[in-house]
């Protein structure tokens, strides 16, 4: 079978590789690029652990082949943090509300949550439930994950609020 040349921008850096067409995007990220933050769970689109942002929108990286992502932009969980050793506001909120236990679903939950917060800083609880509706978590019962996304939304809204007027 013919190998195919692709260029994918992952977390802002362009990677040029030659791949077998049957290599899924999640295997490409993990095995070729050694970006192992994205988790391979069920590998047929049910669990959501492999979620990444494709051109800014959340998708399953096990449900597409790397060749389909040629010339596209991918953001993985590694791309959410502002810098090495730092946490994004959403990641920090996950930590604070204990929105994880074993951590296997966490990269997918963070991607789904971040995708929602990129669209709105004022999500309803239903919006949050809908956004993470395709992601399975067997530890938390989801409540702390919903709380974390609510907390991050509150903080992001406050960060964007106009400054208090100066006192006379």
């Amino acid at each position: 079978m013919k190998r195919t040349e692709i260029t994918i921008a992952v977390n802002g850096r362009a990677y040029h590789r030659t791949v077998e067409p049957r290599t899924t995007l999640v295997d490409f990220l993990r095995d070729e690029l050694r970006l192992t933050g994205t988790h391979a769970g069920c590998e047929h689109g049910v669990c959501g652990a492999c979620s990444v942002l494709l051109d800014g929108e959340p998708v399953r990286s096990c449900l597409m082949f790397a060749v389909q992502a040629d010339r596209r932009q991918v953001t993985t969980v590694e791309g959410l943090a502002p810098g090495a050793g730092e946490l994004s506001i959403l990641q920090d909120a996950f930590w604070e509300t204990h929105a994880m236990q074993c951590g296997f679903c966490t990269p997918g939950m963070l991607i789904a949550g971040q995708a929602l917060l990129n669209r709105t800083l004022d999500p309803t609880r239903d919006d949050i439930v809908e956004a993470i509706g395709g992601n399975l978590c067997r530890c938390t019962g989801y409540q702390q994950i919903i709380e974390a996304i609510e907390l991050a939304a509150r903080r992001l809204r406050a960060a964007n609020a106009p400054a208090e007027p100066a006192r006379p």
Binding site: E43, H44, G48, S51, P58, L63, M64, Q68, A112, G133
Partner: protein, 290 residues
């Protein structure tokens, strides 16, 4: 869960797609891949060549054809139809159904035409297409063919589409007058496959008498079923009791089966309840329009 080997071509044009489909071999079109890739991962599908139509912009559009129909390009993503003001205004039934299709991550990739070509018996988009008697256009080297979606779905993954044909657009009729629609579904989880799905669309006259009704069910057989018994309501007021009685008569038109999720009897009961709810929701929506 790894797909078998295959070759891959990103087609630049519909002509190239038709040329490739005309060659012999197990050639499959991939658009969003949200049904096909799981089948390939489980090796239930083993195409030797995948023809990617993602670069063909001519297959992505949503356009009103006057006030007669809404034309949706086959490779239009489900999320784009879900967010489309045209779909919300002219095809509220499709807008409602799209909320139930997979979940946000799959709707960002999955396409309208892909869902129809894949023909999952519990899929929502084929159900809406059967309810509204939509038509599809399929292109091959021999030219364009028009396919009535009312008798397009033969069974799981089996349709009237020929191996050398590529879906190019779906044409959904727009109803005029006091129109209302309803969509109801039961599934194990919000994003899971439908155990049963029901949809209905009605038109009422100024007095509230039903002048037109279409109803269909998914998950109760090998393909979506347009049920005719509730059409006895045409010419009458759609009181709750009348709707429930009319829906009780659908039993002979559906043939649900037991599977690992639920039994056939459960599906029959849920089908009646959901369809009554869908018709009542459609009635209430139509009553709110003048």
């Amino acid at each position: 869960m790894k797909a078998a080997e295959f070759d891959y071509v990103r087609a630049a044009s519909l002509d190239e797609v038709c040329d490739l489909l005309d060659e012999s071999g197990e050639h499959k079109i991939i658009a969003g891949g949200q049904t096909l890739v799981p089948l390939m991962a489980m090796r239930l599908a083993r195409p030797t060549l995948l023809i990617d139509i993602a670069d063909i912009a001519a297959l992505r559009f949503i356009e009103a054809d006057g006030d007669e129909a809404l034309r949706i390009g086959a490779a239009t993503r489900q999320v784009d139809a879900e967010r489309s003001a045209l779909v919300r205004a002219h095809l509220p039934l499709l807008a409602k159904a799209l909320r139930w299709v997979g979940h946000p991550q799959t709707r960002n990739r999955g396409t309208i035409g892909g869902s129809i070509a894949a023909a999952d018996p519990s899929a929502e988009i084929p159900l809406v297409a059967v309810t509204l008697e939509a038509h599809a256009t399929a292109r091959s080297k021999d030219g364009d063919a028009t396919l009535a979606l009312a008798d397009f779905f033969h069974g799981p993954m089996m349709t009237a589409l020929q191996p050398d044909q590529c879906l190019t657009e779906i044409r959904f009729p727009i109803w005029s007058g006091r129109v209302g629609s309803g969509f109801h579904e039961v599934s194990a989880r919000a994003s899971d496959f439908a155990l049963v799905a029901a949809c209905a669309q009605v038109t009422l006259d100024p007095q509230g008498v039903c002048t037109r009704l279409a109803a269909a069910l998914g998950g109760v057989g090998a393909a979506p079923v347009r049920v005719r018994a509730p059409e006895a309501l045409v010419g009458r007021m759609l009181g709750d009791d009348a709707v429930v009685r009319a829906v009780a008569a659908i039993d002979g038109e559906i043939a649900p089966e037991d599977d690992q999720h639920v039994g056939a009897d459960y599906r029959r009961r849920v089908a009646r309840v959901l369809l009554a709810r869908a018709i009542i929701e459609a009635r209430d929506e139509a009553l709110r329009t003048s």
